[in-house]
């Protein structure tokens, strides 16, 4: 057998991997409830996050009904409108996307893709999930307390958030802040596991530069989260003190409802700095895992190695680092020294460079690839479109002079939904269709999946694209109704109705997805161990779905990176990471790889 390219690059962890001691409980509760198996924890995260995400989806439809057909429905009044918008935003960003991408995908994929038996600290991992669940329950409780949940907007800006007159200014905001603090504690436990497992538990041969990009994305996002969430924690604690103990960290001297409050000289701007010091990295906490996952989906389904692997890794790191120095672009209209505005506009625009680089590399990966238009691939390509769109409107907003008139309009709503709602959701769907066969052993239905994709993709454009125009017309966000407003033309009113219809269609299309997921679990086609002919380790396990401990008696040994697709001279169009050069089957001289 011929040997294919063996520039002996290095290998990492010790030659003898110490075996992990796994806890093997016998009871149902030990196996599926208080489980320490990262795969079970992943599914627990998935179910919890999806459930609370569905709540947020329903909230958004109620918001849209109000906006599209003002005066027609009576679900919402001005206060509950604000509460719905707030809870929708906070749930989607923190409790759904962050938990799903890191808690669910992180837990499932990190040990498998690194070739480990489990996370390094399984018990802490379990505790992380239960802490997260507690945070979610506290959040849900805020719907049922007197005054209802907070209506301060997901940014929770003081003084508004804790001033009488704002919905949920007493119980609602307290529960929100406590829930966030608990979430952060839970995340820190999980995050420690993700980072240490990636650094320490890679199997033999799995060097850093052979890690699949999914792992790189999750790794960088976790690092960002561990460093950025403390800002939210500090802000939450200080706001709780302002609220409960009467300190004046954030609360200025002011009169509320005709009465002088006890606060003196606090600084609302300080809160904004802390919040956005968390808030902007948060955007990338959601985006980086999506970047990583989409790279792997594209490579696998285009049967082509990822273009510029090292550049992709460096870009992830560069974006992560830069994301800490752009936070004030959310504060252009809060008042700041013009030189600071200039500084932050510059750093913001610089981030576009590594980001654009990644987009080029994705497109170049597809170039001349043997593209299989599978459902995961459709979603991955959909992501590229949506992300580019949202990224471009971000370039507008990054410039102070352009942002000033656009801030707080629907242009912003359009922008952030494209870039941080739809784009990562596309990847999440793609990832579910991609890894479902490994998790359950069965394929999801292809036709239903395609319908789901096209309705969601076109539908979300129908929702968010017009919002840019509405925003350019100057329509402000976070308004219950616009009343008799001279500058809002009739066309905006019809557009709003159309958007609402599109939103309902998209929401209903998700039923296809959930039906597909449940139905396939019982009736889906048997998937076999590696239905996509992928190279990464999770597809090479002895059992599908993998048992506790992931791999067979011995851990796999890694000889190559994750992107050996279409290697010239090889018999198959992919070589799994654990196939040694000696074992690669080759073709006789002069013969081509058969086209698929």
């Amino acid at each position: 057998m011929a040997r294919l390219g063996h520039e002996a690059t290095s290998y990492a962890p010790p030659l003898e991997m110490p075996e992990m001691e796994l806890v093997h409980p016998k009871t149902f509760i030990g196996k599926y409830v208080f489980s320490q198996d990262a795969k079970v924890i992943a599914i627990q995260y998935f179910i919890t996050a999806t459930s609370i995400g569905l709540v947020a989806l329903v909230l958004s439809i109620l918001i849209r009904l109000q906006l599209g057909f003002p005066g027609t429905f009576s679900f919402l009044d001005p206060s509950s409108y604000l509460q719905h918008v707030t809870m929708h935003g906070m749930i989607m960003v923190v409790y759904l996307l962050t938990a799903l991408l890191l808690g669910a995908f992180g837990n499932y994929l990190i040990p498998l893709m690194c070739g480990a038996r489990d996370m390094v600290f399984p018990w802490l991992n379990m505790l992380s999930y239960w802490t997260y669940l507690t945070a979610v329950l506290i959040l849900v409780a805020s719907f049922f307390v007197p005054g209802g949940p907070t209506g301060a907007g997901w940014t929770l800006y003081p003084p508004q958030a804790i001033t009488p007159g704002t919905p949920g200014y007493d119980w609602g905001i307290i529960l929100m802040l406590v829930s966030l603090a608990v979430f952060i504690a839970g995340f820190t436990m999980g995050g420690l596991n993700y980072v240490v497992t990636i650094l320490q538990a890679r199997t033999r041969g799995m060097t850093l530069m052979r890690l699949p990009l999914t792992i790189w994305g999750i790794f960088m996002a976790t690092v960002l989260a561990l460093l950025a969430f403390p800002a939210l924690l500090v802000a939450a604690l200080m706001m709780l003190m302002d609220m409960l103990a009467g300190t004046s960290f954030f609360m200025p001297t002011m009169i509320a409802l005709g009465e002088q409050t006890g606060y003196e000289d606090g600084s609302p701007l300080l809160f904004q700095h802390l919040f956005w010091f968390f808030g902007h990295p948060e955007v990338y906490i959601v985006a980086l895992p999506a970047f990583g996952i989409v790279s792997d989906i594209l490579a696998t389904h285009a049967r082509r190695n990822i273009f510029g692997y090292r550049m992709m890794v460096w870009a992830l790191i560069a974006i992560g680092g830069l994301s800490f120095v752009v936070w004030a672009h959310h504060m252009y209209v809060s008042g700041m020294n013009p030189y600071f505005g200039f500084l932050f506009a510059t750093t913001t625009l610089i981030i576009a460079v590594p980001t654009a680089l990644k987009v080029y590399n994705w497109v170049l990966t597809l170039w001349k690839g043997n593209i299989q238009l599978t459902v995961p691939m459709l979603f991955a390509i959909g992501f590229i479109f949506t992300f580019v769109n949202g990224g471009l409107s971000g370039l507008f907003l990054g410039n102070v002079t352009v942002d000033v008139p656009l801030a707080d309009t629907y242009f912003v709503v359009g922008h952030f939904h494209m870039v941080m709602a739809v784009a990562p959701i596309m990847v999440i769907f793609g990832a579910i269709y991609h890894w479902y066969p490994k998790v359950t052993g069965r394929m999801m239905n292809d036709t239903l999946g395609k319908w789901h994709f096209w309705i969601t993709f076109i539908g979300t454009y129908g929702i968010y694209y017009p919002m840019h125009y509405i925003g350019l017309a100057g329509v402000p966000r976070r308004y219950y109704a616009y009343g008799e407003t001279g500058f809002i033309p009739d066309s905006v009113i019809s557009l709003n109705a159309a958007i609402t219809i599109a939103a309902i269609v998209v929401a209903l299309a998700q039923l296809l997805f959930f039906y597909n997921m449940f139905h396939s679990y019982f009736r889906g086609r048997e998937a076999g161990p590696n239905p996509w002919n992928a190279t990464t380790l999770e597809w090479q396990t002895e059992h599908t779905p993998p048992h506790h401990g992931n791999f067979g008696r011995e851990l796999p040994v890694v000889y190559r990176w994750a992107y050996d697709y279409g290697v010239p001279g090889a018999r198959h169009d992919f070589i799994p990471q654990n196939v040694s050069p000696d074992d690669v089957e080759t073709l006789p001289e002069g013969q081509e790889v058969p086209a698929r």
Partner: protein
């Protein structure tokens, strides 16, 4: 935010250098004959999962305190109502107690390294007692401040004083959970390897919190 940014720049800078050194002259697309060993890629053997885990956790804690310090300085500058608070002298005594706590845990760690169970036990006891004394001492400081009319709401300087000392104490209390674990292992006479890991983590965490306390105390003294 300057303090936080300096911390992050140092941290991410180190990380970046490490990664770039790992990747610059590596050819990820080339496959290897076998799992050959290249020292530069692996973490040194001293980097056990427990130690790396602690380091990562400490990075997050540092971020928390760096941000608190940033908030402190920003609040001081953003409004003109700041009246500096002279920290009570009792804090010096408390500082001494915390030093003793660190010394005790260091002794325990040394004892574990040399396989001397008695020294581990006495060290742990000393460390724990001094730490509890420190926290009680901090409570006394709070009571003194209250008695002197420096309440939470009196001034942002006092509010920050309470917030920052409380945050620090909470981290010590969290550490005491790990300390209880070490105590249980040591008193049951479990295997020295487990005791060693446990005592070592405690010692390192305590040294970190001592260093942090020096910084926080210094800041409270100077401003």
């Amino acid at each position: 935010m300057t303090v936080t940014l300096i911390f992050l720049a140092l941290l991410l800078g180190t990380f970046l250098t490490w990664i770039v050194r790992q990747s610059l002259n590596v050819r990820p697309w080339a496959s290897a004959d076998g799992p050959s060993v290249n020292e530069s890629d692996s973490l040194p053997p001293a980097a056990t999962p427990a130690r790396v885990g602690l380091a990562v956790f400490l990075a997050a804690v540092t971020s928390l305190f760096a941000l608190s310090i940033s908030a402190y300085t920003m609040r001081m500058e953003l409004s003109g109502d700041w009246i500096p608070l002279a920290p009570p002298p009792l804090l010096w005594l408390n500082t001494l107690l915390l030093v003793v706590g660190s010394v005790g845990l260091q002794r325990a760690w040394d004892g574990a390294r040399r396989n001397r169970l008695a020294q581990v036990r006495s060290g742990l006891k000393l460390g724990g007692a001094a730490t509890v004394a420190f926290i009680v001492g901090q409570l006394f400081v709070w009571m003194q401040l209250q008695a002197a009319g420096h309440h939470l709401v009196t001034n942002p300087a006092t509010a920050f004083f309470y917030l920052i000392t409380a945050l620090h104490a909470v981290h010590l209390l969290g550490g005491l959970i790990a300390w209880v674990r070490a105590m249980v292992l040591a008193s049951r006479g479990e295997s020295m390897r487990d005791i060693h890991v446990s005592a070592e983590l405690c010692a390192l965490y305590w040294h970190f919190l001592l260093l942090l306390w020096f910084i926080l105390f210094g800041m409270l003294l100077v401003t």
